[in-house]
């Protein structure tokens, strides 16, 4: 979806465009371990990255963007930490900074990759609260996660994947025991039941 891995088969359109051409709509929050934390950047520098594109050449073009950065940070409740070094933040705060980056970018679709893998439960709730507020602004938010606890409360819709689509729909309806087994079961078992055109228990049709 982020337009960085070529499709193996099938097709994918975002707002009618190929993923590669739709990158500007996508705000991406990477997994924690994909970021090089050696760089002791400020919160502001990270949030500002949402505004960087191929035409960003002038390191001094800051002034007019300041209000955008401040707006985004106040939405995630970290405006008071704007000049803080990111190395001093907790896992949950870092996720909020990365969320603010997608807000600065103005992306309509947010893609969160394992957003909660490095945060404690309290911080996860804070991030979820912010995500729900962002949702009210009419943005689409997609979260990849392995955690199925309280999934009904958190998400409007779920797409269960284990090398294929196990189920899709309202979490309280589609998350049957069968689907969970299919999702977390062994690939051997899954592939035995998997035939072309039939994707297991609930394929969302």
């Amino acid at each position: 979806m982020a337009g960085i891995t070529p499709l193996s088969h099938g097709s994918l359109k975002i707002k009618g465009l190929q993923p590669h051409d739709a990158k500007s709509f996508i705000g991406y929050v990477p997994q924690n371990n994909q970021i090089n934390w050696n760089f002791a950047l400020s919160v502001k520098q990270v949030v500002e990255m949402g505004l960087i594109n191929n035409k960003t050449f002038n390191p001094f073009s800051r002034k007019k963007n300041n209000h955008l950065i401040e707006d985004s940070l106040s939405k995630v409740g970290l405006l008071n930490r704007i000049n803080e070094n990111i190395n001093n933040l907790s896992g949950g705060q870092l996720q909020r900074v990365l969320l603010a980056r997608t807000l600065t970018q103005g992306a309509d679709i947010l893609l969160l990759d394992e957003a909660f893998s490095a945060v404690d439960i309290g911080a996860e709730e804070d991030v979820m609260k912010i995500i729900n507020e962002i949702k009210q602004d009419g943005k689409t938010i997609l979260i990849a996660t392995h955690d199925i606890n309280n999934i009904e409360e958190k998400y409007d819709e779920v797409l269960c994947l284990n090398r294929h689509c196990c189920a899709f729909g309202n979490p309280s309806e589609v998350l049957t025991e069968e689907v969970i087994e299919e999702m977390y079961g062994s690939h051997n078992q899954m592939l035995r039941e998997h035939t072309p055109g039939h994707h297991g228990a609930h394929n969302g049709n």
Binding site: I4, N36, N38, I52, N53, N54
Partner: protein
């Protein structure tokens, strides 16, 4: 020790040229060093320096000087290293190690086979006192090119270095940025071979940047400190070598090491109260 201590060596033209070269390469290397240490690219940088040997051997055979060969050699090496790392899956360290040692070996063989007259000691440890006016002009041009590119692409390179996948999703041209950084790193390394040589170029790249990281809180301020430390170690190293009749390249490296030790002590002293307070 008065002002004449600083002025006296400058009555010699070769010392003036050496001083200019020392400042330019010291600052250029240490600024790029800040990126290099945070990107864990020290080994890569070492390989870049060593891989120049066969290119220098062939170039000198055809009558070019080392500084004339610098820029083309740097670009070739950067592209080659970048290409091989991207297109093999044997691991970055292994690819770098293979290129590093093969090229270095090839260099020695070529020097012997082509029977070129290269003073290996100068090449390995630098011979800053022998730089010509052309060498100074070359390094000044490289200095301007490298720092302008870094200035213009600073935010893009920083984004890519900090969050490569995020930068790719943001549609930055990451392949271009990757090679661009490799090329300016290679240019600064190969351009500085005359100053500190193949073996010691790494010390001017990594040590000031490492020391700067110890004493500064943010990445941006670490670049400033690194440039300062790099400049100071080059210049004072050169003066020490003049007055105490020491080899210039190694003396510059040792001053940088001294600054690193001081930064380390400074950091320990500064952090201590925090550890003891409740």
């Amino acid at each position: 020790m008065g002002i004449e201590t600083f002025i006296e060596p400058l009555q010699y033209d070769f010392m003036v040229r050496a001083l200019i070269t020392a400042i330019l390469s010291g600052v250029m290397l240490s600024v790029l060093g800040s990126f290099t240490i945070n990107k864990n690219m020290g080994f890569m940088a070492d390989a870049m320096a060593h891989a120049t040997l066969p290119i220098i051997a062939v170039g000198v055979f055809f009558g070019f000087s080392i500084s004339e060969l610098g820029a083309p050699a740097a670009v070739i090496i950067a592209l080659l290293l970048g290409f091989i790392i991207k297109n093999t899956n044997i691991g970055e360290d292994t690819s770098i190690g293979i290129i590093f040692s093969s090229f270095f070996a090839l260099g020695f063989v070529l020097i012997s086979v082509l029977d070129v007259s290269i003073n290996l000691e100068d090449l390995l440890f630098g011979q800053i006192l022998a730089v010509s006016s052309v060498d100074v002009a070359v390094i000044f041009t490289l200095f301007l090119i490298v720092l302008s590119i870094l200035f213009i692409f600073f935010k893009q390179i920083l984004f890519y270095s900090f969050d490569p996948i995020g930068a790719e999703v943001r549609n930055l041209n990451v392949t271009f940025l990757n090679y661009l950084f490799l090329i300016i790193l290679s240019l600064s390394i190969v351009g500085s071979l005359q100053t500190v040589g193949i073996v010691l170029v790494l010390s001017m790249l990594l040590i000031p940047a490492g020391a700067a990281k110890l004493v500064s809180k943010t990445f941006t301020s670490s670049i400033r400190f690194s440039a300062l430390f790099g400049g100071v170690s080059s210049v004072s190293g050169l003066y020490f070598s003049y007055y105490f009749n020491l080899p210039s390249g190694p003396t510059m490296s040792l001053v940088a090491s001294g600054i690193f030790v001081l930064s380390f002590i400074f950091k320990k002293i500064k952090v201590k109260p925090k550890l003891t307070s409740p």
